[in-house]
């Protein structure tokens, strides 16, 4: 069995490499690609070298401010890696659609190679030039730094930057190849590339923040997250790769009418309803139980994730304890809850204020799930649980009872709010998962619209009523329970 798998993998790699080698050779022969990429890759690091020198020169005028410049230097190291990836992305963007435009794709599709071999070959071919260009840029920058500033980065940091740059390149290229196999012109692919470049640019901004604070360990986590994204994008691309779609795609049209009909049909008359007319009785008697069954696998992933989040909160409370006296419960009174909006967490500590805030957060999770394979929806729910875990542990550390904290702060409304949030997040994650699951019997667009309709239905008929109840409890019952539990007035 293992031998057979190895033989298959070896054969896949052999065939994929035939395709890769040809494409890379073809790319390197095109001076219109090689010249600008080469020049920019070489010129930009030199510019960054000059920037680093100027920063150091400027900050050294002010005693002790050099640290700012030395924080910029490693950041620029990452930038010189990122920059060539962004402009050599054009190679990945035209990998399928460019060949289609040149009519050279069909002979390739007619070869006795599997979809996996073909896709991997193309993917690898699209990855090699950007990654090599990134490494070249980094090398030039480092040589420049060595000569002009006699600086060599620590080995760990260098490895981190190389890993991070590679992961960024892989994410961008994997995304670009997906785009390339699902558009009908190079022009459209280039326009859609902004959906790859912009989020990555935002990520680089986030990384700059991390690097200015010298929290270099966080870079490993970012690299790990990017690795997950690469795997998901490759899986998505492979699952959606379809010779027929590529060959037969003529003019992509926006069919808002069709989209609306699909949404409406799934909302009002899903196939699972077996033709029974729409009614509240059917929704609560059939549709919702069916949706809950559909959500079960996602719930099974979310619950352990929330437990992990709480554990992370405990860990953070231990590592970064609150200063003594901060958790002074004797200062809490009925008036304290009315002052909560001053902290900026809620618009108003009223039923409507809490309800609208929660609805907004969960809808945002739904939207973000669409662009993150569901991951961001889960992370958005994990964040408050981590905070709760932190405070629960902080209370325990400061000598208060953990049980009192749970009963006083969480239980009265949380018993309703948490299931509602988990269900909404589960359906949001399901929407994201549609992107990586093989669509059966329907197009990806149809499956996505159907999952959106399912999300909306569960949200309207289950989540919103529960959130309303939870908000009422939080605004009116929780404060009283809290004061009662801690014997306050």
């Amino acid at each position: 069995m293992i031998r057979q798998l190895l033989a298959t993998a070896r054969n896949d790699a052999r065939v994929a490499w035939i395709i890769t080698a040809r494409e890379v050779r073809d790319t390197l022969r095109d001076w219109r690609l090689v010249l600008p990429i080469g020049l920019l890759t070489l010129f930009f690091p030199l510019l960054m070298d000059a920037t680093a020198q100027m920063s150091l020169s400027f900050t050294s005028r002010y005693g002790g401010a050099e640290i700012l410049a030395w924080r910029i230097v490693p950041f620029l190291l990452m930038i010189v890696g990122f920059f060539p990836i962004s402009f050599s992305l054009v190679i990945a963007l035209e990998t399928f659609v460019g060949e289609k435009e040149r009519n050279s794709l069909e002979p390739l599709l007619a070869m006795p190679v599997s979809d996996r071999q073909l896709y991997l070959g193309k993917l690898l071919a699209a990855m090699i030039p950007p990654v090599l260009a990134a490494y070249l840029g980094i090398t030039v920058y480092l040589i420049g730094l060595g000569i002009t500033m006699h600086y060599t980065p620590p080995a760990t940091l260098l490895i981190q930057i190389l890993v991070l740059t590679t992961m960024q390149a892989l994410v961008m290229v994997a995304g670009a190849v997906v785009v390339s196999s699902h558009t009908n012109s190079v022009r459209a692919a280039n326009l859609l590339a902004s959906f790859i470049v912009v989020p990555m640019a935002l990520l680089v901004q986030g990384e700059s923040y991390v690097m200015f604070w010298a929290s270099y360990d966080v870079l490993w986590w970012i690299a790990l997250g990017l690795l997950v994204a690469v795997i998901l994008l490759m899986r998505l691309g492979l699952h959606l790769f379809n010779r027929e779609e590529i060959l037969s795609r003529g003019m992509d049209r926006i069919r808002l009418g069709d989209a609306w009909r699909t949404l409406k049909a799934q909302f009002l008359q899903p196939a699972s309803a077996g033709g029974r007319p729409f009614s509240l009785w059917r929704v609560y008697g059939h549709d919702i139980p069916w949706l809950l069954r559909q959500a079960a696998p996602a719930v099974a992933c979310i619950v352990p994730a929330l437990m992990l989040a709480a554990f992370v909160g405990f860990y953070l409370a231990d590592k970064f304890p609150l200063p003594a006296g901060v958790l002074d419960l004797s200062r809490i009174s009925g008036q304290s809850f009315k002052q909560l909006p001053d902290l900026g967490f809620l618009p108003a500590f009223t039923t409507w204020g809490i309800f609208s805030n929660n609805v907004r957060s969960l809808l945002l999770a739904g939207v973000m799930a669409l662009f993150s394979f569901g991951v961001l929806a889960i992370l958005l729910l994990m964040a408050p649980v981590t905070i709760l875990g932190y405070f629960a542990a902080a209370f325990a550390v400061s000598g208060h009872s953990l049980g009192q904290f749970v009963v006083g702060f969480i239980l009265p409304h949380g018993i309703v709010e948490l299931p509602a949030a988990i269900l909404a997040t589960a359906l949001a994650a399901r929407m994201g998962a549609v992107m990586v699951a093989r669509p059966a019997g329907a197009s990806l667009g149809q499956r996505l619209l159907q999952s959106v309709a399912d999300f909306v239905k569960l949200f309207v008929f289950v989540v919103m009523p529960l959130l309303l109840l939870a908000a009422f409890l939080e605004a009116n019952v929780t404060p009283r329970v809290l004061l009662w539990v801690y014997g306050l007035s």
Binding site: V15, I19, M111
Partner: protein, 328 residues
């Protein structure tokens, strides 16, 4: 073992067996109920107007796209469940040559030979043999971007033949070629037929279909509307004999006089063509009528019906321009 089994074992299975193949794109039927069996050593031409479904049919049979319904085997492999094997047994000349313009011919063929699994020892010899056959050997180190249309078409044909496939699908094989190259390709098709290859040609070129193929399938709106040898098609779709009269002077105004005798199919200033089921009875009457009108007849001859007439009677005669049918 039954006698029928023995007989079956002695008769080789057809190279292509397609049964009620369908292909629906969205709500449009591209191919509908396509049923065809083609044997080894046989050449079948798929003849039809643009958009008739020829290319889609070939793509399905070459396992590039999946059928929406029906089934087919090619070289003994199922097109739906064994696509890689089918593609390995098929040589496909695509509608456009689609060459990689920065490659040399030798590199290009080596690349496709490797993908086809032709081992390195055999590859070089095969490439040389085919390049020489198609008179491209001298251009073997030329960048493909510098190839003429005809050369590109020939190289694409070499690509399709490289792995010596038992089944060939040739989409417009001579469309961009000069007469000499077209003759070369036609000769090659004949040679391949002699080697018992199964060949399916998609074409608009009626002369080519007539000259090269054993059987002709006329396709309209995704379905075969006629299938058979040229003689069978003539007999089935063109009733009677076409006769042509050449006159010494214009015959203007005689049409009403002739209409009770024959139906004039076409005419010019000094000629007319009609079709009749009974030459012995009709022709003397027509001659007498013309003579009676004082028109001098130069010749009267029987015209052999061409594939074009069959084709036009099937395609143009039945609202060929009607849009493709919508899927239910």
């Amino acid at each position: 073992m039954e006698v029928s089994d023995l007989v079956d074992a002695m008769i080789p299975a057809p190279a292509i067996v397609a049964e009620r193949l369908n292909k629906v794109f969205g709500d449009v039927w591209a191919v509908r109920d396509f049923t065809l069996a083609v044997g080894y050593g046989e050449v079948v031409a798929l003849l039809g107007p643009n958009g008739a479904g020829k290319t889609t049919t070939v793509r399905m049979l070459a396992s590039i796209i999946q059928p929406s319904g029906g089934c087919a085997t090619v070289a003994g492999f199922d097109i739906a469940t064994q696509p890689v094997q089918v593609r390995g047994a098929v040589g496909l000349l695509t509608e456009f040559p689609g060459l990689y313009k920065r490659m040399l011919a030798l590199e290009y063929l080596d690349f496709f030979g490797r993908l086809q699994g032709v081992d390195s020892g055999r590859r070089a010899g095969r490439v040389e043999e085919l390049l020489r056959r198609f008179e491209l050997w001298d251009a073997r180190r030329t960048q493909l971007g510098h190839y003429s249309k005809g050369m590109a078409q020939k190289l694409a044909l070499v690509r399709a033949l490289l792995h010596d496939p038992p089944v060939l699908f040739l989409d417009e094989p001579t469309s961009a070629m000069d007469p000499h190259s077209a003759r070369l390709v036609r000769d090659t098709i004949g040679w391949l037929q002699g080697q018992k290859r199964c060949i399916v040609i998609c074409t608009h070129n009626l002369t080519e279909a007539q000259e090269l193929s054993d059987r002709i399938a006329i396709i309209r709106q995704g379905g075969i509307v006629a299938l058979g040898t040229l003689d069978e098609l003539r007999a089935r779709y063109l009733h009677g004999v076409a006769c042509e009269v050449r006159l010494a002077e214009p015959w203007d105004g005689l049409l009403p006089a002739l209409s009770p005798l024959v139906q004039v199919e076409s005419h010019g200033l000094t000629w007319l063509r009609y079709r009749t089921d009974d030459v012995r009875r009709t022709n003397p009457l027509v001659l007498a009528k013309l003579a009676g009108a004082g028109v001098q007849v130069l010749t009267l001859s029987v015209v052999e019906s061409s594939l074009e007439q069959v084709y036009l009677s099937l395609i143009e005669g039945e609202a060929a321009d009607a849009p493709a049918e919508r899927a239910a």
